[in-house]
Structures are given as structure tokens and as C-alpha cells.
Amino acid sequence: MATEILMPALSPTMEEGTLAKWLVKEGDSVKSGDILAEIETDKATMEFEAVDEGVIGKLLVAEGTEGVKVNTPIAIIGEAGETMAAKAPAPADEAPKAAEKAPAAAAASAPASVKVDRSPDWPDGTKMKTQTVREALRDAMAEEMRADDSVFIMGEEVAEYQGAYKITQGLLDEFGARRVIDTPITEHGFAGIGVGAAFGGLKPIVEFMTFNFAMQAIDHIINSAAKTLYMSGGQMGAPMVFRGPNGAAARVGAQHSHDYAAWYSQIPGLKVVMPYSAADAKGLLKTAIRDPNPVVFLENEILYGRSFEVPDVDDFTIPFGKAKIWREGSDVTIVSFGIGMTYALEAAEKLAAEGIEAEVIDLRTLRPLDYDTILESVKKTNRCVTVEEGFPVCSIGNHLSAYIMTHAFDYLDAPVLNCTGKDVPMPYAANLEKLALTSVAEVIEAVKTVTYR
């Protein structure tokens, strides 16, 4: 049976090319792998090989011909002894026909988000206890490890040393070396091993001594963990938690002070959590461990030692995507998360003394993000200030500003202002470090600007 040999596409972008040279002539026998011709693409001269065995019947395009479109028949190949006439060149267009219908509006955008959830995190009258963020995180992991044997923790100094920041205190004693695993200093490698273990059906908690060091592992967090569910068409993903302290501690300089909130929040496929209080740290970490997706859980060293009231119950979780309103107010909305909440809450206290009532929203999770709670508040106050310690360019605050502008433009009485860290590497000197972070004074000033006071 005679078949046409078509002008091949020889690169991802090639649409036409020059048939530079024929290396066979009519009547030649060829077999798979024999070089038929040299073809010049926009980038290079490539050899074009035979796929089928047969005899070259006719060369349809002369060598030296320029601008030969991909899929144009260039030769006829057939079995020995066959006579071959050129078929009338059929429109050599086998390009996909399917799904050519106009994109349905519904299909072309993400499903609408859920509505505002104002339910209390725990019922009134729940017995409470005072705990540090550190203890709350440890309890969250211990409870989930008791409940599910597939949960384990790995990282540097998590076992025998009891945690570089003592978050894993006591876990080795209770769960043993099978499930509480000290790694060598090898972030890229153990993050990848964690992802592999998650593909294999386990639920790893990968602790980074700090998130600064996770930059060596970010390829596995993003390319291996976050994208696999999609790339596998839903067949497999990485149910796991990457956690550790994030952002500035105190006086540790530029390489140990980076806030990655905005970085990870950009990635579809990741969930991103950044708790402020101990109750949220506990409830959200338990949710993170149970979540069937990769979760980046950003803690803060300065908050580890802070105490909060935590529900004293057996099983307490906080859902993702539900912001917490710490303080109600009608004059301005202050949106923050993580350690940013310390500035937001203190500024709100001081502003109240001056007669400005701020509503303070703690996002708690950045992905998913509770847009509805923000919009509802902004529609009430008509003004918004965001607060975070991270860099200003492409910050979470920038994103929220754009979102509010798009969805509540007519409600705004002033531009949304972003309080962020300064656009400089973190300095060491105490006075400069203070200046590099945002501050209560900056938040107050921003609020006064948007309230025209």
C-alpha cells in the first residue's frame, strides 16, 4: 500500500521549512531509521528519517524548495513492485477537531468561591486552656500521629535534639525513630523523599528548620508536590505538610529573615496557612495534616513563645479558607495574617483610643483565601489597610488591593494601602532591622490616611 510521506514538524514551533536535500532517490529501498532528507527549520538543519520500510515511489517536492508547509506530502513510499501515482493531495490537516465549540463562560473561569462562614470556631462554653503556639503545634502533630499511622515527621534535628525550636519536643519518645526521623542537612533531597513517600500513600510532615532553607527544596514543593495531581489527571498527588518558621526572627540578617507568604500563595495546587494564635496553629495544623493536598504551613519564631487560649477538647480543627474577625469596627478594615496580626491588633487598640474603630481580619489561610469576609467588611467600612512583614513588590497586600478594586471599587472611599516590609534585604543592625519591618506606627498612619484624619 502506498503512503504519503509528509513534511514533518521538527520543532515545537515549526510551521514550514526548506527541503534542503534528498538523500534518497526514486526506486531506493529504505527501512526504518534510514535518513531520507535534510530539512532546514527556522533553527537548524535536521535529518528526517524513514519510519516504514518500503520503496521510494515518487519525490513530490524538489530539493531546494523553500517554504514547504508542515504536512505537505513530499514523497510517496510503497511496497516493492508497486506503482505509485501521487494521490490528489488531500488537505493534510489532521489537527484536533474536538472541543472547538466556543468556550462556555462557565467553563472558562474557576468555580465561584463559597459564601461567608461566620460560625464560631468552637461552641460557647468550651473549656479552654492557656498554651503557647509551640505547645499547640506539638499537640496537633502528636494527636494526628496517634490517630493515623501513616503520618510521620522528618527534618533536621526533629528527633533526638527535640527540634531546633523545640516544636517536636517529646515526639521521638512517644512515636519512636520509625515515625520521627532525623535527616542529614539535605533539604532538596529530603523534601523530594517526602514527596515520594506521599506519592506512596504516606502523610509526611516535612519540617524545615526555617523556610529560608526550603529555597533549596522549592522545586519539590512546587514542581513535584503542587503540580502532580493536575499533571496526572487526578490520579495521584502529594498529601503532605511542609512546615517550619518563616519570616524575620530577630537579628539574624538577610539570609535568615525571608517571608515566603506571597511566594507560595501564588501556586495553584498548594494550600498555604499562616496562623497567628495558638488555637489557630493547632486547629489549622490538624486540618493541614488531614488535607489530601500539599500544604505549606508558615510559622513564626517570635510567635512560638506567645500564649493564647486554646480549646481543651479531644479533637479541634479549624477549616481552611475561613478568616477570623478579631475585632469589629466600622471605620476601616485592617487585613493581616501571621505575625502581621501583632501590628494590626496593637494599632487598632491605639486607634480606638483616638476614636477610630478598626475591623481587624486575620486571614489565617492564604490559599484558599476568605475573599468574601474581606469584601463584606470593606463594603461596610469603605476603607482597607493590609499588613504583612514580607517584601512590598507582588505582596499579599498588592493582591488584595487588586481584588478589592475589582470587586468593590464603588464601595471604596480611599485607595487600599499596604503596610509591608521595606524593599531591602534584612539588615542586621538593630535600628535598621526595626526600620526594615513594618510597624504599628505605619499601620496607624495608613489608617489615618485612608480615613482622612
Binding site: 514538524a9 521538527l10 535536521m46 523530594g192 523523599i193 515520594g196 495531581l229
Partner: protein, 345 residues
């Protein structure tokens, strides 16, 4: 350039299959290797027709590596590899139709058309990708082995990577932890002599890749990757080592890719003679063919029949990959999270 380390007299050279290999087995390896080759040739053709886009890395020339090692694997063992993954998928029993339809970006593909040539997976066949980042699959393979060790079963994970990947830092990191924790992982270095356009000797002064494991205490060896029986024998040794709880094993399999690195590689970094030499004198499929014929295990007609069967399977896969529709537009927004729909940001 012939592979640097090859046994002087391999089974292929003598025309006699090793004593423990039956004629049936030999025919099976022939069939499996041929399926990969014909499938890849067809993929190249569909690429030329614009039906396959982007990057497409063919496995032609390296078939004996994955067929030999799959012959040493048992049900439940895992495998993970790079973007040069079509051969691995066919060899572990994935459906050629689903693989080809993924190459053409159709709903009938293993990833519903959302992964492409470099990113495919099959939970059912314990195939964990399909990874586009050079060497990222290496710690992932160690992690898969970790999950088996954690559960206390005796499964092993075949972790395939190239000579180029072998120079990545995360390979060294993985060796160290795999040996530290006795992980049942076989690191398979598919040394096809080139990483894109960079030959091994232009990338390292320590070209005996398997020997790097010695620094970590990992056992290993180099194998003639153009000899499917030698690969199988080495694979069985490696599997036995891992199943016995002795930790990882490194196999450096000396092989060669006949085609360019990807479809758009003009391959100016090596001579046509070098490629022809390998194709004509060392081809793994031709070697087995000769063994079957000279050993009297199969006639020309028998082999023609196999060739025809394979051709039909590949043509059927190609047809399926053209007819399967493109994914519905709503698929853009699925499979981002396992539990929830994505948010509209």
C-alpha cells in the same frame, strides 16, 4: 562510540540465550522491545504531523534497559523516571492507547491530556511519572521506597535517570539517605552517553557513575544495556539485594539513544557514523532476533507475525490518539485540589 564497559562475550554475542532464559521469555522480550520501538517511531511520525506538540523525547535504542529490568520486577514493585518515559510505561504494562492519546493531548490519555509526553502516571501499574525536572525523580524514587520500608513490605522501587541527571546534587543527597536508611531502591542510571548535546566526558572527570555509590557504601555495577539478558540478570541481582533488606543498589546501564535528544534536536554533537555503528552492530532488538533465529527458537515467519501484531497495536493506538476528543474545557479547572474546587482569584 561503543559503551565503555561491556562484557567481552555476552549472550548476544554468542547467539545463545543464558541457560535460565526460555525461548518464550526471549520472544517476550523481543516483542516488548519492538513494541517500544514501533510506538516511538509512530510518535515521531505524529509529531511530524503536528499531532503531538512541545517536547517529545524518544526512547529508541534504549529499549533493552527497561525491558530487561521489568523482567526482573514483581507485581507491586514501583517505578519512576524522567521525561523520556514512553518506554517505561509500555514496559510496565500501561495501555499504548492511553499513552499515545496523552501525547496528542486528548481526554483518553493517562492524564486526560493535561500532562503530556513528559508527565504521565498510572497508580494501577505503580508508575509514578514522568518528571520534567532533571533528577527530581531520584529522591522521589527514594521516597517511594521509603513508603514501602515504612509499611514493612518487600517491594522495591526502580528509579531511572540519565547520565546528565547523575551530576545533580539531589542524586548525591538521595544516595546518602537511601543508604543511611537502607531504602529498597534501585538507582538505574541510563547512561546513553549524552545529556542533550553534552557528552559524558564533557560533563565530568569521574565518568564511572555507578562508582560514585561506593563513596556512600552503596553496592553497584555497570551493565551492557544493549543486551537485554545482561540487564535482566543484573536487575535480578539488584532486586534480591533490595528485597533482602540490604538497602539500595546502583545499576549503571550502558546504552545509546539513536534519535536526537528531543524531536527538535539536530544532533550535531555526534557523527552519523557513531550512530550507525551502534544501530548496526549493537542493536538490542536485532541481537535478540538473531538469538531467536540462530537458536532455532523462532522462524522468520514467526517473527514476521510478531512484527505484524505490534504494528497493529501501534496503529490502533495512533488511531485512538487521533479520535479521542480534546479534553472538555471544564477540565481546565479540575484536579488542582483533591478535595475542593479552586477559588476564583
Amino acid at each position: 562510540m561503543p559503551p565503555r564497559k561491556t562484557a567481552a562475550t555476552t549472550a548476544a554475542a554468542t547467539g545463545k540465550p543464558a541457560a535460565n532464559v526460555s525461548a518464550e521469555d526471549l520472544k517476550r522480550y523481543y516483542r516488548e522491545m519492538l513494541l517500544i520501538r514501533r510506538f516511538e517511531e509512530k510518535a515521531g511520525q505524529l509529531y511530524g504531523m503536528g499531532l503531538i506538540g512541545g517536547f517529545c523525547h524518544l526512547y529508541i535504542g534504549q529499549e533493552a534497559v527497561v525491558v530487561g529490568l521489568e523482567a526482573a520486577a514483581s507485581e507491586g514493585d514501583k517505578r519512576v523516571t524522567s521525561y523520556r518515559d514512553h518506554g517505561h510505561m509500555l514496559a510496565c504494562g500501561m495501555d499504548p492507547k492511553g499513552v499515545m492519546a496523552e501525547l496528542t493531548g486528548r481526554i483518553g490519555g493517562y492524564s486526560k491530556g493535561k500532562g503530556g509526553s513528559m508527565h504521565m502516571f498510572s497508580k494501577e501499574k505503580h508508575f509514578y511519572g514522568g518528571h520534567g525536572i532533571v533528577a527530581a525523580q531520584v529522591p522521589i524514587g527514594a521516597g517511594l521506597a521509603f513508603s514501602d520500608k515504612y509499611r514493612g513490605n518487600d517491594r522495591v522501587t526502580f528509579t531511572y535517570f540519565g547520565d546528565g541527571a547523575a551530576n545533580q546534587g539531589q542524586v548525591a543527597e538521595s544516595y546518602n539517605m537511601a543508604q543511611l536508611w537502607d531504602l529498597p531502591v534501585i538507582f538505574v542510571i541510563e547512561n546513553n552517553q549524552y545529556a542533550m548535546g553534552t557528552s559524558v566526558k564533557r560533563a565530568t572527570k569521574s565518568p564511572d557513575f555507578w562508582e560514585r555509590g561506593v563513596a556512600y557504601g552503596i553496592a553497584g555495577e555497570a551493565v551492557d544495556g544493549m543486551d537485554v539478558l545482561a540487564v535482566k540478570a543484573a536487575g535480578e541481582k539488584a532486586v534480591a539485594h533490595c528485597r533482602a533488606g540490604k538497602g539500595p543498589y546502583i545499576l549503571e546501564v550502558m546504552t545509546y539513544r539513536y534519535r536526537g535528544h528531543s524531536m527538535s534536536d539536530p544532533a550535531k554533537y555526534r557523527t552519523r557514523e557513531e550512530v550507525q555503528e551502534m544501530r548496526e552492530k549493537r542493536d538490542a532488538i536485532e541481537n535478540v532476533r538473531q538469538m531467536l533465529l540462530t537458536g532455532g527458537h523462532a522462524s522468520e515467519d514467526d517473527l514476521k507475525k510478531i512484527d505484524k501484531e505490534i504494528k497493529d497495536i501501534v496503529n490502533e493506538a495512533a488511531e485512538f490518539s487521533k479520535e479521542s476528543p480534546e479534553p472538555d474545557l471544564s477540565e481546565l479547572w479540575t484536579d488542582i485540589y483533591a478535595d475542593t474546587a479552586p477559588q476564583d482569584a
